[in-house]
Amino acid sequence: MENAWIIPLFPLLSFLFLLLFGRRLKENSAYIGMVLTLASLVYSLVVLFERFNHPTYKAEVTWLTIGDVQLTAGFEVNQLNALMLVIVSLVSFLVHTYSKGYMHGDGRFHIFYAYLGLFTFAMLGLVVSPNLLQTYIFWELVGAGSFLLIGFYFYKEEAKAAAKKAFIMTRIGDVGLLIGMILLFWQVGSFEYDAIFQAVDEGAISAGMITLTAILIFVGAVGKSGQFPLHTWLPDAMEGPTPVSALIHAATMVAAGVYLVAALFPLFAASEAALMTIAIIGAFTAILAASIGLVQKDIKRVLAYSTVSQLGYMMLALGSAGYVAGVFHLMTHAFFKALLFLAAGSVIHAVHTQNIEEMGGLWKKLKLTAPLFLIGTLAISGVPLFSGFFSKDEILISTWVHGNTFLFWLAVIAAFFTAFYMFRLFFMVFTGDARSKQKEVHESPSVMTFPMIVLGILAIVAGYVNTPWFGTFLGDWLVADNEALGHGHIEGPAWIMIVATVVSLLGIYLAWLIYGKKSIQRDWLTVRMPLTYNVLYNKYYIDEFYQLTVVKATKGLTAILSFIETFIVEGLVKLVAGIVHGLGIIGSKIQNGQVQAYGTVAFVGLAVLIVIFALTGGYLK
């Protein structure tokens, strides 16, 4: 564990190496990336196993001393960090492998791998940071990596727009994070997590200030994790290559917001109001995104909304004091959602479209992808014995026990929606007849199916580390020696599990009736309730709402301001620019190349100084 700092450096090395030599290596770049992320993965596993038997390890060096203030840099391996290291490096390694097949033939292949390395470095650096400042630096670096990868196909207008949107929307959240961070520093005098928790523990910060800083930091998490109202960038981010969606917009970066809340959990736990805010935003996001997911036609967009919805679940869990439930779901979700994205990528790779209405009957043609996609679908729907079942159950119990009855039922309905739209997706893509002329459809090469198989296995078994039946190993380990994190396992009424199961089976049954057996007309909703359908299809018109309100209001304001601007502000700016420019001209003029002028300036300067000194110093009496 003492050398865990080396884990983020492997991908950084990959980034630098590919930046310098990628052009010569061409597609062999993939091997560099794969080997180096594999090294990170192996070392992360070693660290994780070491962490089982050893206490938390933390190392720091003073990075900069300014007067009395000491800023430190270092790394910390606690339970959460060790777990995150493995999740991030595992998914990253699998995506590196998968991309070798998926990105084959792309002219900027090596640049893609370089960016992947940069992103993985930033993400791994983020999860070992022991203080807020370092977290913030990596947080921004992660955002930059995401920006580069979303806009990877920069010649596509949509990709460019999506990259810009993602960057700006998350930046809005980051402002909150930055302010919260500065306030905390002002109150505590340190960016260290430990110092902050200690101050909270000792009551050195007022209750109001705790709530304020907690909510401001949560605003940062809202932006990064695509929570309402800053969620609209995530579906658009699907313009990036599909492996990127799996890595960044399903398993790692979007989970960073959840990670941040989990890492600062003792701060949040000290404020009931902050927890409540998180729970409400989380539950609302879960149901909002799930309902939008019901009617989307683009395979990746359905998955994107499901990601937003599942992240809402995690926030709901954390907001209900269910630390273990949130982190547990973060882990299982990383596996099954990455699996779903990779499988979706494999489908897109085979049929060259993302519109599910043009797909169908692929079960027989994609003999490997289809069952794997089914595993992912079962897991996310919360079907018993799959990983998602256990983690979702844990979340529902936490919510119920914490007393948020209303939010609990919202979450149950969202679970129903989830089961429905995921199986709608499954039935439309894999069953029935091909709805459009498809050319030869081939299964993807083994370099792409191997990562999916690994994730498929994990999507089944990952849940068993924390079950009410075989022991709550993960939960007990996560909260060991830290009371602020709550209990390893929360006991809840048994009927919750039954309700969750019934609800998810109902959703699947309904989906089967409509899209499998087709005993209910598919356009049932469209015909009966066109309004509801349109509202859902257009994502509650949130983008339009922003367009109408924020953008319009801004434009209206602009009209007024532009008047002021043209005549007053611009005048001032022009004046300043003019002064600078004029000074430049005068300065250059005085600089006329005549030596005597230079001497004169020096003498005049000296004389002026002495005269003023004599006048102000009172020496001339």
Binding site: L64, L583, I590, Q591, A602, L606, G617, Y619
Partner: protein, 506 residues
């Protein structure tokens, strides 16, 4: 002085100076007797080895306590050691530049002079940083100045170089005269030329007329020294001289000579005048004169920053642009002098160190880019990334550091000075704000160069000529890039080194 006293001195304290002096003497003799066809570049390598040896000797002296010899005229204290370190490293890097310097009209015959004059200049700066007496200080200053005058005109058959030397010597003489006049006031009031004795005598002067005369002396010294610093009001020579001089000489003037200027500014002005009372009565009798003069330095710092950054906006000649940039950086350093915070020494030291690496590195690249045709227009850098990607990336690092972008040594240096201005009592808000504002202005011309390098198409059509980078310059650029990034990411390695070795002096 009899032989015994002479032998009883700890001459070891002067080992670095002796090494430089010895090597310079040997080089001049070899140069004199060597045949015309003899490749004199070997002399440059000998000079370089000499500087490294002096560096080793200096490091050997780190553990030694303060030594004063020759009746307190030569003083090896922590202050001298820590700044000599910068001077030697800077000179070593510039020697590498000088070895690789080949102007188009050729300078084979007097290449030897180039090397030993650099060493002589270096010797001057080292004596300045160790001097405990006005006389040694002035001798060091003159040694530096006279070597620099010749160096500026080392390209005998190149007209701008001659012009540059001429302007430099005229302005330099004025500055020397002013400085000397200021020194004579000091001697007149205290009756001694020794700085240690002066600091004993000065606190006992309690006549307000004395403090007025001390004020005049202060301004004369400040203005005289501002010639070496290239700060207002004595900055105007810099663009003309920097532009005309050979590029390694420009680097020498902007780095080593400037560092030496700050060394004596602190050694003499700050230490002497912080021991002088501002007046005879009341509060004045307990406040040092220096605090009363803070505002004047602040104004000069402000003017320097504005002049340097604003006029740089209009420059097309890269060396001229760097002259103004170097004026601006001297302005930032004056901010640190003004604020006199508790960590003034370390922030000035760190900034000069950071500035050394980024500026020598930048001049190394400029030297390579302009060597072929003496065309120093910024357009010369267009499409550089396509032609020589490595060199462009290195230049990118130097420019980002000069602009003070996080992750580089330049940023940490600026941050230190900025914080110092804010935490000192009273805080210099206006000066700090002006520093930020002028830094923003500087982005325009710095990023202008970046735009040229990375986004403009190359003016040279067709097959791009591969530049062969001389080994020495390549090594120098490599060291500068590494140091610029390393001290940006791990500033505490340098600051810890500073504290452990030299924490005790103030």
């Amino acid at each position: 002085m009899d032989l015994d006293t002479l032998l009883s001195y700890q001459w070891g304290a002067m080992a670095p100076e002796f090494i430089i002096l010895g090597v310079a003497t040997i080089l001049s003799i070899v140069d004199l007797f060597a045949p015309k066809r003899f490749d004199r570049r070997i002399l440059g390598w000998i000079g370089f080895a000499g500087i490294l040896a002096a560096l080793a000797a200096l490091m050997n002296l780190f553990a030694v306590d303060t030594v004063t010899i020759l009746y307190d005229t030569f003083k090896l204290d922590a202050f001298a050691k820590v700044f000599k370190l910068l001077l030697l490293i800077g000179a070593a890097l510039i020697m590498l530049l000088a070895i690789g310097y080949r102007p188009k009209e050729g300078m084979e015959e007097f290449k030897g002079e180039f090397y030993y004059l650099l060493l002589a200049g270096l010797l001057g700066t080292m004596i300045m940083s160790s001097s405990g007496d006005l006389i040694t200080l002035f001798v060091g200053l003159e040694l530096l100045s006279l070597s620099s005058y010749i160096l500026a005109g080392i390209r005998k058959k190149h007209l701008p170089s001659n012009e540059s030397a001429m302007k430099y010597i005229i302005n330099g003489s004025i500055a020397t005269a002013v400085t000397l006049f200021g020194m004579s006031y000091l001697y007149g009031i205290t009756g001694t030329t020794n700085l240690a004795e002066m600091t004993n005598v000065l606190p006992q002067l309690n006549n307000s007329q004395y403090s007025y005369l001390m004020g005049i002396a202060f301004f004369m010294l400040l203005v005289g020294l501002s010639f070496k610093l290239a700060t207002a009001p004595f900055h105007m020579w810099a663009p003309d001289v920097y532009q005309g001089a050979a590029t390694p000489v420009t680097a020498f003037l902007s780095v080593v000579s400037k560092t030496a200027g700050f060394v004596i500014l602190i050694r003499m002005v700050v230490i002497v005048f912080s021991n002088t009372q501002a007046g005879a009565t009341g509060v004045d009798s307990v406040t040092p004169l220096l605090f009363k003069l803070q505002d004047f330095i602040a104004v000069l710092a402000g003017v320097t920053m504005v002049v340097g950054n604003v006029i740089a906006l209009r420059q097309r000649n890269i060396k001229r642009l760097f002259a103004y940039s170097s004026i601006a950086h001297a302005g930032y350093l004056l901010v640190a002098v003004t604020s006199m915070s508790v960590f003034m020494f370390e922030s000035i030291w760190f900034y000069l160190g950071a500035y050394l690496f980024m500026n020598v590195g930048a001049f190394a690249v400029i030297q390579l880019m302009t060597a072929n045709n003496d065309n120093e227009d910024i357009a010369q850098f267009a499409g550089m990334y396509k032609r020589t990607p490595w060199l462009a990336v290195a230049m990118g690092v130097f420019i980002l550091s000069l602009a003070g972008i996080p992750g580089t040594a330049g940023f940490i240096g600026k941050l230190n000075i900025f914080m110092g201005a804010l935490i000192s009592e009273p805080a210099h808000y206006i000066l700090a704000a002006l520093m930020i504002a002028t830094t923003v202005v500087s982005y325009f011309y710095y990023f202008g160069i970046l735009t040229q390098m990375f986004f403009r198409p190359s003016p040279v059509d067709g097959e791009v000529e591969k530049k062969k980078i001389p080994v020495g310059i390549g090594v120098a650029i490599g060291i500068c890039v590494l140091a610029t990034i390393a001290f940006g990411l791990f500033p505490n390695t340098a600051l810890d080194f500073f504290h452990t070795n030299f924490g005790g002096f103030q």
